[in-house]
């Protein structure tokens, strides 16, 4: 009995306080690859819909509004699984180290973006391109330069007009 108590006391004394002063001081260091709140790089996204397809919480929404595609990320339901970042072909989504996401305002956990889509000259529908090279003009188009190049499938609207 006393031997046991003595051994317990030794263990307790040889391991002094291990709790960190968090949140008043720094917490434990986060490792590389930690899955925190997501960020979306709008200049990279091609609105392919891959992230919305895999998101288990179904929190990524797409609204097809003619030449624009509006995307909503309602992150209050995010499980931080990181599937969206994993499947994104353009690496537009990254998981940050941010984990202090509790908030009184739902808007803090809301991301909205609008993307101008390239238009197909034949059918007039907005389209996503098929291969990596074709994505380049789409991306530049996105950045406001309105580039229409010969590598666009079906020529693109202005190329058509010139013909």
């Amino acid at each position: 009995m006393f031997r046991a108590k003595f051994k317990e006391a030794v263990i307790c004394f040889s391991n002094p306080r291990v709790t960190l002063p968090y949140p008043f001081g720094p917490g434990a260091e986060l490792p590389e690859g930690f899955r925190g709140k997501i960020t979306v790089d709008q200049t990279r996204c091609i609105a392919c819909g891959g992230c919305a397809n895999v998101c288990p919480s179904r929190l990524i929404r797409f609204y097809d509004e003619g030449e624009r595609t509006r995307m909503e990320f309602i992150l209050d339901r995010c499980t931080y699984c990181g599937r969206c970042a994993e499947v994104c072909p353009e690496h537009a989504i990254t998981m940050t180290l941010e984990f202090e996401n509790s908030t009184d305002h739902k808007e803090d956990l809301y991301i909205e973006q609008e993307l101008y889509m390239a238009t197909c000259a034949r059918c007039g529908r907005c389209f996503e391109t098929e291969n990596a090279i074709d994505k380049i003009p789409v991306r530049r188009h996105r950045e406001g330069r309105n580039f229409v190049g010969p590598s666009m499938p079906h020529g693109g609207p202005r190329a058509r007009q010139r013909e």
Binding site: M1, A4, E8, C12, L30, F34, R35, Y80, G82, M95
Partner: protein
């Protein structure tokens, strides 16, 4: 745990072969989960009987395991490591020394704490010969996991129906025959130490290769898959019927607490009220797995039972208000 069960069920339904390396990584994660779960339980059980020294020490020992999991998978608790067809992250060679270091440390420290408390009469007075669950009742009520193994029932899905890498790595079933809470405690501590050995073996035996199967075809609808996994609390079963568009049509999971709870009335029969919390705690209950809630209004004595459908409706109402 559950993600492994679900993925295995879908893999069975779709006839997907998981690469060997992925199966080893799954085993390592499952065993890390068992270590942290058992250490957590040890702390809580000690807390229930008012022995907070063990609570502090068990949780101190446990914390490095959580950090390790965070490093391997990207999160302390919601690992998200499994996908249908394999695992999402590899455990590279560079991480092995750290893993081994942490394992060595928790093994040493768990043994030290164990060595100190086994002869502690206050602890034994609260655990030995308390909450007795006779062997025949454990079998009659189909109890699972450490609860059954503490009553001398040698069942363990890892050995009985091997999955992941358990068919290749030596796995021991820890059985105790004294049928009381102390037996369940000893089973869990022995399993913790055995888990450490399993992870070491896995790291040594882990083959090179891919960690995800190439899945080119959608999984056909209407297939049935079932899988069982030995969770820290006992058996977890997952049943899946595949549907259109690579999505499940039906999915049912049965967690072990639902089964183990049936043994609690026998454990507390004839015991003092003070022993009820620790008897209940000894099955490591997780009430969220039971899909049913009973509330008692102490003033009016009114009893209200919420079924799964009621809970679902309440959740929906709450969500629609937001």
């Amino acid at each position: 745990m559950h993600s492994t069960g679900y993925c295995q069920a879908v893999e069975k339904a779709g006839g997907i072969e998981v690469p060997r390396r992925a199966r080893y990584i799954r085993t390592i994660i499952l065993e890390l989960e068992r270590i942290q779960s058992h250490l957590l339980w040890l702390g809580i059980a000690a807390h229930i009987i008012g022995f907070d020294t063990v609570l502090m020490q068990a949780w101190r020992i446990r914390e490095p395991v959580m950090w390790l999991c965070e490093k391997i998978t990207g999160n302390r608790k919601l690992y998200g490591i499994n996908v249908v067809g394999g695992v999402r992250r590899d455990i590279p060679k560079a991480m092995h020394p750290e893993l081994m270091g942490v394992l060595g440390r928790i093994e040493r420290e768990t043994k030290a704490v164990l060595d100190a408390v086994v002869t502690d009469t206050t602890l034994l007075a609260r655990l030995a010969n308390v909450g007795v669950l006779p062997n025949k009742d454990a079998i009659a009520y189909s109890l699972l996991g450490p609860t059954a193994r503490g009553s001398g029932v040698a069942i363990d899905i890892r050995v009985d129906h091997p999955y992941a890498a358990y068919g290749e790595v030596e796995t021991n079933v820890m059985v105790e025959t004294s049928e009381d809470i102390w037996a369940r405690t000893v089973v869990r501590i022995k399993e913790t130490l055995d888990s450490i050995r399993i992870i070491r073996d896995c790291l040594a035996m882990m083959p090179e290769g891919p960690i995800q199967a190439k899945i080119t075809e959608p999984i056909p609808p209407g297939r049935i898959g079932q899988s069982s996994v030995e969770a820290p609390r006992g058996e977890t079963h997952h049943y899946v019927i595949t549907g259109e568009d690579n999505r499940p049509y039906r999915w049912k999971a049965r967690a072990p607490t639902f089964q183990n709870l049936q043994g609690v009335p026998i454990m507390v029969l004839g015991e003092t009220i003070a022993d009820v919390p620790i008897a209940l705690g000894s099955i490591d209950p997780c009430f969220s797995c039971t899909e049913r809630l009973e509330t008692v209004d102490v003033r009016s004595g009114e009893v209200k039972v919420y079924t799964k459908a009621d809970l679902f409706r309440l959740c929906k109402e709450r969500w629609s208000k937001r």
